[in-house]
């Protein structure tokens, strides 16, 4: 995590002055995906970079210590070693940015990561995830417990009833969605959020991170997200301290693409270890 958001006086006139033209943002969203593509080595390198932004996530009701352990191992070894060697990237220490689990599974994750001998941070969705509609007191307690168990990053669902009535909250990172909605991370919404991050930086000097989550499943999607951040905010935001992708199945597709890049063949399901 980068230095915390030092915050600023709440000035609602900033928000009221913001103009967003919806059809124009939709057009921009279409264009970004069409105008920037990467191929060959560039694609491979970008995909590996994308791996380092992933918050490898499992948020299922039936999570147990065994699949958490598997997830943590995959976080440590996201791409098959021989593929990385072929790309001469095996010594770069490529891991996902974090693992992200429910508060009750933080202990399992911390234990598993320790056993794997790595210091990948554990993120947790605390504070009444995914609706945020619980009392402030229990929300705070939930966060405290998760931190006590070893979580170093907390994804908080803000109280949207407060937002809709104009009472805002601050944060270090902003996230598009919980991943539990029918519509999750979309480009038009992301464009608006990224522009807000840039404006906030220009006004206060604080860099706020960005995390799209939900529905990002293909390697191609992840490349589009990288170029979106690169285009709207610039290279300085392309590091795990400021950019994360919340995803569970994305990693396996990236690994398949890397396999194809290295071998020239399309991988069978059993060619790559599951997470």
């Amino acid at each position: 995590m980068s230095a915390h958001n030092r915050g600023t006086e709440l000035d609602l006139s900033w928000i009221s002055k913001i103009q967003v033209n919806h059809p124009a943002v939709l057009r921009r969203a279409e264009q970004i995906q069409a105008r920037r593509t990467v191929k060959k080595e560039w694609q491979a390198a970008w995909l590996l970079k994308a791996v380092t932004f992933i918050d490898l996530t499992t948020l299922s009701g039936d999570d147990t210590s065994s699949n958490i352990q598997r997830l943590c191992y995959k976080a440590k070894y996201p791409i098959r070693e021989d593929l990385l060697k072929a790309l001469n990237m095996h010594d770069k220490g490529i891991t996902t940015a974090a693992v992200c689990v429910y508060p009750a599974r933080v202990c399992d994750a911390v234990k598993a990561l320790k056993a794997a001998g790595c210091n990948i941070p554990v993120a947790s969705v605390a504070a009444g995830f995914p609706a945020g509609q619980t009392h402030l007191k229990t929300r705070l307690e939930e966060i405290r417990l998760a931190v006590e168990d070893g979580a170093t990053e907390i994804d908080v669902v803000i109280n949207r009833s407060l937002v809709l009535t104009g009472q805002w909250e601050g944060s270090d990172f902003i996230k598009t969605s919980t991943g539990k909605e029918t519509v999750n991370a979309t480009f038009p919404v992301a464009i608006v959020m990224l522009r807000a991050i840039r404006d906030f930086f220009w006004k206060t000097g604080n860099k706020i991170g960005f995390k799209p989550a939900g529905g990002i499943r293909s390697a191609k999607d992840s490349l589009a997200w990288l170029s979106l951040v690169k285009e709207e905010l610039g290279d300085e935001w392309l590091k795990p301290e400021l950019f994360r992708i919340g995803a569970s199945t994305l990693l396996s597709d990236i690994e398949r693409q890397i396999y194809h890049h290295v071998t020239g063949r399309y991988a069978a399901y059993h060619d790559l270890p599951m997470s």
């Binding site: 103009q19 967003v20 033209n21 919806h22 059809p23 124009a24 943002v25 939709l26 057009r27 921009r28 264009q31 069409a34 105008r35 920037r36 593509t37 990467v38 191929k39 060959k40 080595e41 560039w42 491979a44 390198a45 970008w46 590996l48 970079k49 021989d82 072929a86 790309l87 001469n88 990237m89 770069k92 522009r195 220009w202 990288l226 690169k230 285009e231 610039g234 290279d235 392309l238 890049h261 290295v262 071998t263 020239g264 063949r265």
Partner: protein
């Protein structure tokens, strides 16, 4: 594991996260060139035409300079052969029912779809434009254009009854154009039954490929013929006797020259000039989205030219910061790279922009350039020029050579076009000032308005004098939306219903013939007024006719303080009318301009009410009018009928104008596109000699109904009837709405035709006068309608009050209104 294909650079890229090349293979384009043995001729009558002993020009990759093919240059005889092929094909093509043409156009769309990769790689390879724009934009739109116009063709018999195709169309395209510009024009022309000869600049293979694809479809080989040749062929093509209309797109000065050289010739002329666009950024705009609008307009290879950018002062700093930040992320490179925003457009375009920027810098302008751009020629970085006041010498080019002594045919200077990829930014304070600045140029192509306030956006959208306005978007196009311009951008249209009418003429009217008189001296035509002497006292039973020029709502003495006698049919003196001159025309045009904003702002209903009031007044004055017509030789019954018909015309146009303009629905756009019919401005009308009352009223009524104000020269033989009507107009109309100047017809015609602030001119008179009007209109490129000495049956509905008048009396504007919450 299979052999590794990974390159060594992944490590570096992993750290730098730079973009890499995304090359699009152009092997199929080269293979197609090979089928022509790398030598491209012309495509005429369904066959390749490769005559011997022709000069050839190399077709080069604009970036590497590599020779791709050699292109034969057409000569006059090739042009004649192509026009003859098109003329022969016209007979069959136009005789088929619309559904047959519709099927053929649909088949062409399918062929394009099947060979689109060849088309886009060839186009991008040769023009240097970003392949993404050609592939995702142009090629798709080309197919949509064919489908849209196929539908129009299939309903032609009902929807366009009363119109017939003009004949062979000569299409002339400028050196830096996309094949799409050709599609915009050939689709409507072919749909309505015309055939086309397109003259494209040397080394433009994509139009030839299109012609080949169309020709190989079979039964109609000669409908689309493409020649490549130098600009010197333009007048040769334009003056071919078989050509009925010349559609020209290119630079304003070339258009002006062509307008002059085609004066009196057989072919009609449609001009689409200039490439510059305009963007208005207000302080309530979504600035980031507006910046993307600038990118779309000037730095994305979508638009052909540069951009004038007007930014409200209060958001100037914010907008400039965002623009500059955004420019830093633009990428330029080889057009066939799938991830570049801009390609390169060859050495000539590079020279042009270098000259412009150097000149701007020398005038004290600030120049900002950024982006990931190869440093070598012919690449040129995205450029933002600011602090260039409109009055600075850079904004003006040298005055073109002056023609004809004190009667200069040329205005003293034209602001320089902003070339691609330059954006010239300047500030404005209020929306009102923005309109003044935006409209303060001779250009009237396209503009976008960025504002989140609905009222302000519409106010600006309606107020801009351009052909297309996008609200909170830039550069959207659709086959069903008319695209065109006004003022010196030329007034031809493509797309939508307006695009079809470009290639149609009212059925049954006599063919337009050449009225060229080689001896006509433009310098002296109508220059001097023959002096007139008293012809004795006025006699007769009728009351003395009104005297004076009707200007600004009242009768005024002419500046020359002299009069001309008007004789009746038996040769006796009927009365004197004032001898108007240049100063009187100036005054009349000024009065019309003063009245224009108020009149154009009236609702059609309010305008109709005044026309109806005038009709009633004419009926009250019926006996006087009829007796004056009788003295001019009409039977009493016919005279009374003429008065009655005149009153009916006023009422009919008042009613007809209520239903003008409409809303279009466009694929892929949420929200409407409004097709507005706006008044032209000040319209000059020189009335025919015959039908002294009916023709005058038949021309006056539509002009006023659509919100124009007019300066009219009444029948030279008997202007007294028009002056009688003026007596009623003085009481019914606001001052200045209609101004009537009597005098020497040629002299007044000269003054009006050369007036830079008259927006359109209709001339019903001699062949020589028509030729002069067409020649002189090149000054401000006002649309002209000249009768060329052909009489018109003003008492017939089709010729006296037909849809042709309704078409010519107003101009179209397309107003795009995308919606979203």
């Amino acid at each position: 594991m299979a052999a590794t294909r990974a390159g060594p650079r992944a490590r570096e890229i992993f750290t730098s996260l730079e973009y890499g090349p995304v090359p699009e293979s152009h092997a199929c384009a080269l293979a197609w060139l090979d089928t022509q043995d790398r030598c491209l001729g012309h495509y005429v009558n369904g066959k390749w035409l490769k005559p011997e002993h022709r000069n050839s020009v190399p077709c080069q990759d604009p970036i590497t300079g590599e020779n791709l093919a050699s292109c034969l240059q057409a000569q006059a005889e090739d042009v004649a052969a192509a026009v003859e092929a098109a003329r022969m094909a016209f007979k069959g093509w136009s005789a088929h029912p619309g559904v047959v043409r519709a099927q053929h156009l649909t088949r062409l769309a399918e062929v394009i779809q099947k060979h689109q990769r060849l088309l886009w790689t060839l186009e991008s390879l040769v023009t240097g434009r970003a392949v993404r724009e050609v592939r995702d934009g142009d090629v798709q739109l080309a197919q949509q254009l064919l489908h849209y116009h196929a539908i129009q063709a299939s309903t032609q018999e009902e929807a366009l009854a009363g119109w017939e195709p003009m004949g062979v169309i000569g299409l002339i395209l400028p050196p830096t154009f996309s094949f799409l510009e050709m599609m915009w024009r050939i689709c409507p022309a072919l749909a309505v039954g015309c055939t086309v000869v397109a003259l494209v600049p040397p080394a433009s293979p994509a139009p030839l490929l299109l012609a080949q694809l169309a020709g190989e479809l079979g039964p109609f080989p000669g409908i689309l013929n493409v020649l490549s040749g130098p600009a010197s062929l333009v007048p040769i093509l334009a003056s071919q006797p078989g050509i009925r209309k010349v559609a020209f797109c290119g630079a304003p000065e070339e258009g002006r020259a062509l307008r002059r050289s085609l004066a009196g010739e057989c072919a009609e002329l449609g001009l689409a000039l200039g490439t510059e666009s305009l963007l208005l950024l207000t302080d309530t705009a979504d600035v980031d989205s507006a910046v993307e609008g600038v990118v779309d307009a000037a730095w994305s290879d979508r638009g052909p030219g540069g951009l004038r950018l007007l930014i409200q002062e209060s958001v100037w700093d914010e907008a400039m910061r965002r623009l500059q930040e955004r420019m830093g992320r633009l990428r330029s490179g080889r057009g066939l790279d799938g991830a570049v925003d801009m390609g390169a457009r060859g050495a000539a375009a590079c020279d042009l922009v270098q000259r412009f920027v150097r000149e701007a810098q020398s005038q004290g302008a600030q120049v900002f350039q950024a982006g990931d751009v190869p440093s070598e020629r012919p690449f040129y970085p995205p450029t933002l020029v600011s602090n260039l006041p409109p009055a600075s010498p850079c904004a003006q080019v040298e005055a073109p050579s002056l023609v004809g002594g004190p009667w200069r045919a040329e205005p003293p200077g034209h602001p320089l076009q902003v070339p691609w990829p330059v954006v010239v930014a300047s500030p404005f304070r209020t929306a009102k000032e923005a309109l003044l600045v935006a409209n303060g140029t001779p250009r009237g192509g396209s503009a976008s308005v960025w504002s989140e306030r609905l009222g302000q956006a519409l106010e600006l959208g309606y107020g801009l004098q351009v052909g297309t306005v996008w609200i909170n978007a830039h550069g959207l196009r659709d086959p069903s939306v008319p695209t065109g311009g006004c003022k010196e951008s030329g007034c031809s249209w493509h797309g939508g219903p307006d695009g079809l009418y470009e290639y149609l003429r009212p059925s049954g009217t006599p063919a337009r013939l050449s009225c060229l008189s080689k001896n006509l001296n433009y310098d002296t035509f109508g220059l001097a007024v023959p002096s007139t002497l008293p012809a004795g006292p006025e006699i007769g039973p009728s009351p003395a006719p009104p005297y004076g020029l009707f200007v600004g709502g009242r009768f005024q003495a002419p500046g020359a303080r002299s009069s001309r006698p008007i004789r009746d049919s038996s040769g006796n003196l009927h009365g004197y009318v004032a001898e108007g001159g240049a100063k009187d025309i100036r005054g009349a045009v000024e009065a019309a301009h003063q009245a224009f904003p108020g009149w154009a702002g009236q609702s059609p209903g309010a305008r109709a009410a005044l026309l109806w009031a005038l009709a009633a007044a004419l009926e009250r004055r019926k006996s006087t009018l009829a007796s004056r017509l009788e003295r001019q030789g009409a039977e009493l019954k016919a005279a009374e009928a003429e008065v009655e018909l005149s009153a009916r015309r006023l009422r009919a146009w008042g009613a007809r104008v209520q239903a003008q303009g409409h809303t279009l629905q466009v694929a892929g756009l949420r929200g409407p596109v409004l097709r507005l019919r706006e008044p032209l401005g000040v319209l000059a009308v020189v009335c025919p000699d015959e039908w002294p009352l009916l023709a005058f009223v038949s021309l006056l009524a539509p002009a006023l109904a659509y919100g124009n104000t007019v300066v009219m020269v009444p029948s030279a033989a008997c202007p007294l009837l028009a002056l009688e009507v003026c007596q009623d107009m003085a009481t019914v109309f606001p001052a200045g709405l209609a101004n009537v100047v009597t005098g020497d017809r040629d002299h007044l015609t000269r003054c009006l035709a050369l007036h830079q602030d008259v927006q359109a001119m209709w001339y019903f008179g001699s062949a020589q006068g028509s030729q002069f009007v067409e020649w002189a209109s090149a000054g401000n490129l006002k649309p002209v309608w000249a009768s060329r000495g052909c009489p018109r049956a003003w008492d017939q509905e089709a010729e006296g009050a037909g849809p042709e008048l309704g078409l010519r009396v107003a101009r179209t504007k397309a107003l795009w209104l995308p919606m979203g919450d």
